[in-house]
Symmetry: C2
Subunit: 308 residues, 2 copies
Amino acid sequence: MNDLVEKARAGNARAVARLISLVESGSDNELREAAKLLKAPGRARVVGLTGSPGVGKSTTTAALVKALRARGDRVGVLAVDPSSPFTGGALLGDRVRMQDHALDDGVFIRSMATRGHLGGLSWAVPQALRVLDAAGFDVVLVETVGVGQAEVDVRALADTTVVLLAPGMGDGVQAAKAGILEIADVFVVNKADRDGAQSTVRDLRNMISLGGAAWRPPVVPTVAVRDEGIGDLVKALDDHARHLSETGEGRARRLARARDEITAVALRALRDRFGDPASDLRLYRLAQDVLDGLADPYTAADNVIAEL
Amino acid sequence: MNDLVEKARAGNARAVARLISLVESGSDNELREAAKLLKAPGRARVVGLTGSPGVGKSTTTAALVKALRARGDRVGVLAVDPSSPFTGGALLGDRVRMQDHALDDGVFIRSMATRGHLGGLSWAVPQALRVLDAAGFDVVLVETVGVGQAEVDVRALADTTVVLLAPGMGDGVQAAKAGILEIADVFVVNKADRDGAQSTVRDLRNMISLGGAAWRPPVVPTVAVRDEGIGDLVKALDDHARHLSETGEGRARRLARARDEITAVALRALRDRFGDPASDLRLYRLAQDVLDGLADPYTAADNVIAEL
């Protein structure tokens, strides 16, 4: 384990991959050992990219990787797919799109998927971020499906959240007004060469100008498939990073993130205790009582907690 | 509260609705009181209906309600929508389709939605089932979007799980072979008047015949919009209920369900404790330590648990 962590910290891609697998499979003792050895300096900037299917998240992610690499950043990508028990895992289309970077050891790409168990992805992704941080990545891009559809709340994970839209979704924008303004630090209107792009950009800017927050999310038009506007997006991300640092907002977000992570780890540890043989037998007996009308689930739960 | 529970047990729809709202909003003390007062006899059969968008879940649910009402069953419907922070709640299209039953007090229909918080729907739905059971419903239909896309695992909730398919999704069936056979107690091929329906039915039956389980899921072709095949579906549900009862499988499933519920209630109670002011301050300090590299999340979590 020492050796593995040492290699990961030196940026060895295979070691990073093995540590993330460990985080996903979640063998508890190894994990604790790894977590204690990993020094996550909190240097990596975490950028969440979210939006409905079809807006071009993966293409934009690939273009961003290229632009960030061009200036020397080491870039990690976590593609967080919704759980799919039918396929048993993530669709790896994003990997195909990323094959330009397959031989570049300054890029690490990983698809994460889970079957939706309590504490699944919402627990594994922060741990994977720690691994990538410890391994010295400058930026980690976390790509998720639309907010609320994913098990993972990207806002809670990211320093900067990018919401992607595409033209022709104008009605959706109208409907979503309230929610969308809260979520995004940066908007991208991708496929900006299509009809309606200008009005989508204009609508968004109008909506944003109504807000009075310290940070007004910029709206960046892009055509990611041709790398257009990606320089502007990188600049917007840098601007937001500066804002986070200057206002203390960045530290506040990371504190909240660390707190969530501790809570998740604690809840998982407690849940695991319910699974040990003695607790399991007790739970089984309590379940019988509930089924037979001798107890209600609350009283039974109090009983479980008292025995912890 | 006594009065409310009394009325719900007498089948008063407004009282049932208020109790379910209470369950959704989750004010803890009231909830405990209600749970203790509610005697859930475990008489209600819980039937989960799941399938991709567009296969006709809501139409089939509405047709089932009609058929079950015709023989005198009291029927509850819980429509469990995926969380949507953009809309802030469930789309109530299903209610519109259900308006035939709006004046029938033998039918209770409810859309449930949440914003995806830990323990949200996965915690509220079992409680709502208890309310409906206590209120004397004979059957409760739980309609969810495709397995794995929903926050709620319908298999873990239902006595009988119905998987709906529609013709022209043959490739999906092929791809999904492994998973789909495990999930379904009954298959419905809806829109059976369309091209390809017969081959979908045939493919499914061939797949099922390979299995060696005690229960072979029947495949029921329906055209729900015209009530065709719904009688066969009711029969298939009854057959499965008999199988559950005769083999003891029903009791085993309900035991597992009760156990999950107790665990969920216990975890929720523990999580709530993290939110009290003293714990909150402690978590905040631990989060600072994690951020400053003085502790890892595991050690911090151990600390939290020790203080509980």
